[in-house]
């Protein structure tokens, strides 16, 4: 297929996944601020939401402070932020429009419909809690619809594989970033590590990725930070985990290589990242530092994105 078509499919998938990720991060911040006032210290949940997207420096040049209004604007609607939900949906839709014939009709309807409905939410004024919930649900449902329609209707050829590659690489990046939020939400000085606030923060991370039930099924324990990290990083049964994303990435890249009759740097790099995740346990990760490990992973994942682009998309 044309490199440009593959590139459009890949980025279309990434942008929709990114919109979903931003919605989940906003949801997490919204939950954190919703806890009883007694727990709330010098709360910086909104700022942590921006940190999780890796854009705090840029945010600070645009807004005087991080609060419900400014952060929802920045991550939800800002035209200055190419990764805001609105810009993601717009970019995804224009990518989709450029490769209409590579998409199935239901995929196009999912993207075009989301893009049309977005206008109902963008009223240029602050949301109340219910309004924000409705908006975030809309974004998550749009992502789910696109994912589901691709899964159900696309032929299993390179077009589908490049789409899936985009989803998985972006999802791995976002899981790592969501987990890293915890690093950015510094506990207030008087709060105890392992105390109620700490507990609440870890559980909100699980909720963000819809994994509370999964956690209890897998570990049958109360919330432990290292087990949350284990679930989201190393547990291959957990569909959003880094390990699971990389199983999928390696498998997908292999399908492409088989169809084209040639392996390349992208396949080798993906396998080495997967091996790295398989050969480490969570204790080692915490010894080294969770934040450092996550930053390292985000960097490697980015290098895989570059290798895929170099090998196939240009």
């Amino acid at each position: 297929m044309l490199s440009r078509t593959a590139d459009n499919l890949y980025w279309l998938a990434r942008y929709i996944e990114r919109a979903d990720n931003s919605a989940r991060i906003l949801d997490a911040a919204n939950r954190l601020t919703a806890m009883p006032v007694a727990y709330a210290g010098s709360s910086n949940e909104w700022e942590s939401a921006v940190s999780a997207t890796g854009k705090l420096a840029e945010f600070r040049t645009l807004y005087p402070e991080a609060n419900a209004v400014t952060v929802v604007d920045y991550l939800g609607f800002s035209k200055a932020n190419p990764s805001s939900i609105r810009m993601c949906l717009e970019t995804a839709r224009s990518n989709a429009r450029a490769v209409r014939s590579a998409l199935t009709a239901v995929m196009w309807e999912a993207i075009n419909g989301a893009w049309l409905d977005l206008r109902k939410f963008d009223r240029g004024k602050a949301f109340d809690r219910a309004g924000l919930d409705a908006f975030l649900s809309f974004v998550k449902e749009a992502a789910l619809r696109l994912d589901g329609s691709a899964y159900r209707t696309m032929l299993r050829t390179d077009a589908y594989w490049f789409f899936k590659l985009g989803v998985m690489i972006e999802r791995a990046d976002s899981t790592a970033r969501i987990l890293d939020v915890k690093y950015h939400v510094l506990l207030p000085e008087n709060a105890q590590v392992g105390g109620s606030l700490d507990y609440f923060q870890w559980s909100s991370i699980l909720r963000t990725v819809s994994a509370v039930t999964a956690y209890h099924w897998v570990y049958r324990e109360s919330l432990k930070p290292w087990l949350v990290a284990d679930l989201l990083m190393l547990n291959a049964q957990m569909p959003r985990s880094l390990a699971s994303c990389y199983d999928s990435i390696v498998e997908t890249l292999d399908l492409i290589a088989r169809a084209y009759g040639r392996q390349g740097p992208a396949q080798r790099l993906a396998r080495s990242i997967r091996t790295g995740l398989a050969n480490v346990d969570i204790t080692q990760i915490f010894q080294r530092g969770l934040h450092e490990s996550l930053i390292d992973f985000i960097d490697q994942n980015g290098r895989l994105g570059a290798a895929v682009a170099e090998q196939y998309l240009s």
């Binding site: 297929m1 044309l2 078509t5 593959a6 450029a98 209409r100 075009n112 998309l313």
Partner: protein, 465 residues
């Protein structure tokens, strides 16, 4: 729909019965359904200069326009004749120039024509075909007379509407099709692909690679480009997808470079190759013309075909047909006054209130004066434009265009129509699918059928028996 004496015109009997039996609210329901179908499939077009409406739907009229087998047979012969003559004409003016030597067409009309491409002079095209795809605009002025209004032999568009209109009609009115014998148009894309492959350069493999070159998603006809690429099963490429290496043109694919043998290009000459034409074009492919000159790629249509559909050259078409084919034209031109000729100029300026004046290089209904509909100030202004550059204008009488029953707000009413059949000229033969795009002027009394100016479309039925 009826003849002068009030009887129903042959072919329209079934339609007449259907319209009289179907309650109006059913027609309205079907019209709404048709619009939904078009919107859902995303058949849209962009209007240049309309900022608020990036994507619009062309209004669709659910009442088909009908042609009998006999009418079509004449049209088909006439269309084939015209395209054969146009191809002979192009091969001649870029070759020996016999028609100019014979004094049939004035030399400056060719060499000073904005669409004449000196780069094409002396070039041998594979199979000698310049125009592989033509859209010829036809109007009917009385029961027995069709006129050619305009030849479109650069990058004619509209064929996707012909195909989609038929699909929508078959979904909405299956019974109507069961009762009539409507000739199919669905095989157009098969015929187009066969035509394009037949024109592949001799160096191409026996299964040549064909691609459709589009200016991109912001082009007004982008929907059609992607629709056709899809139906043809070929890649829809933009200039940036193509690269010239070792005298061949290739597309960049996920598996590396892949050679392209035939480019069905929907990009104007000016933008094709920044090294030969407009240097600021980012839509084209640097070096494409070198590959073309080396005979290693076929462009459909060829470069420089615009000379043949120029409105000034149009007026010479009857002579062109006689000159190359030694035949009388089967389809006639609209009587045309060439303002370049002093006598005609005086005539035109004298009768601006009854004539339609067109700029020879204009298209899409822009740059045109409809005398009877314009006020005196507009006419006077136009008169000055004509007098300043008479060679840029031609004038034609306002025609008594035929009408077709159309479902409008006030009910079923006559509206003016034209017809654009699509002619395919391959190395082996000429192919025309029975039908075409019928455009209808939806405003009462209006003669302008262009979609950018309030026109709509209809399905076109050629009855098999």
């Amino acid at each position: 729909m009826t003849l002068g004496d009030g009887t129903v015109r042959p072919g329209y009997e079934i339609l007449q019965r259907w319209l009289s039996e179907t309650p109006r609210d059913i027609l309205e329901l079907r019209r709404t359904e048709a619009e939904l179908l078009f919107r859902r499939t995303g058949i849209t077009f962009a209007v240049y200069g309309a900022a608020d409406a990036e994507e619009r739907i062309i209004p669709f009229d659910i009442i088909p326009r009908i042609l009998t087998k006999a009418e079509w047979t004449t049209l088909e012969r006439g269309l084939g004749q015209r395209v054969r003559a146009i191809n002979a004409f192009l091969a001649d003016i870029y070759g020996p120039g016999e028609i100019m030597k014979a004094g049939v067409v004035p030399q400056e009309l060719i060499y000073r024509n904005p669409y004449y491409r000196p780069e094409m002079a002396g070039m041998k095209l594979p199979h000698g075909i310049h125009v592989m795809i033509a859209g010829i605009d036809i109007v009917r002025v009385d029961p027995n007379t069709f006129y050619v209004l305009e030849d479109n032999v650069r990058t004619p568009s509209g064929v996707s509407y012909m195909l989609e209109n038929r699909e929508v009609m078959m979904r909405l009115f299956p019974d109507l099709f069961a009762d009539s014998r409507v000739a199919p148009v669905e095989n157009y894309t098969d015929l187009l692909l066969a035509t394009l492959k037949s024109a592949a350069p001799p160096v191409a493999p026996s299964e040549p690679t064909v691609a459709l070159l589009t200016p991109g998603p912001y082009n007004s006809a982008y929907y059609e480009h992607s629709f056709l690429a899809d139906r043809l099963g070929i890649e829809l490429v933009e200039g940036r997808d193509l690269i010239v290496r070792d005298d061949f043109v290739h597309m960049r694919t996920t598996e590396g470079l892949k050679r392209v043998d035939v480019l069905y290009r929907r990009l104007d000459d000016d933008y094709l190759d920044p090294l030969t034409f407009r240097p600021d074009s980012t839509l084209g492919v640097p070096g494409l013309m070198d590959v073309y000159r080396a005979g290693n790629v076929t462009l459909a249509n060829a470069v420089g075909t615009g000379v043949a559909d120029d409105k000034a050259v149009y007026s010479y078409m009857p002579e062109v047909i006689r000159f190359y084919l030694g035949e009388d034209p089967i389809l006639h031109n609209v009587p045309t006054h060439r303002c370049r000729e002093p006598e005609a100029l005086a005539y035109v300026l004298d009768r601006l209130d009854e004539l339609v004046v067109k700029e020879v290089s204009g298209s899409g209904g822009y740059g045109m004066l409809i005398g009877p509909a314009a006020d005196k100030a507009t006419r006077d202004l136009f008169a000055k434009k004509i007098a300043a550059n008479p060679a840029d204008f031609i004038a034609q009488p306002t025609l008594a265009l035929s009408t077709s029953p159309t479902f409008v707000d006030s009910g079923i009413a006559p509206r003016h129509v034209d017809l654009r059949p699509f002619v395919l000229a391959g190395a082996d033969r000429i192919r025309v699918v029975p039908g075409g795009l019928t455009r209808v002027a939806l405003r009462e009394g209006s003669l302008v059928v262009n979609s950018s100016q309030g026109g709509g479309t209809k399905d076109t039925w050629v009855l098999d028996a």
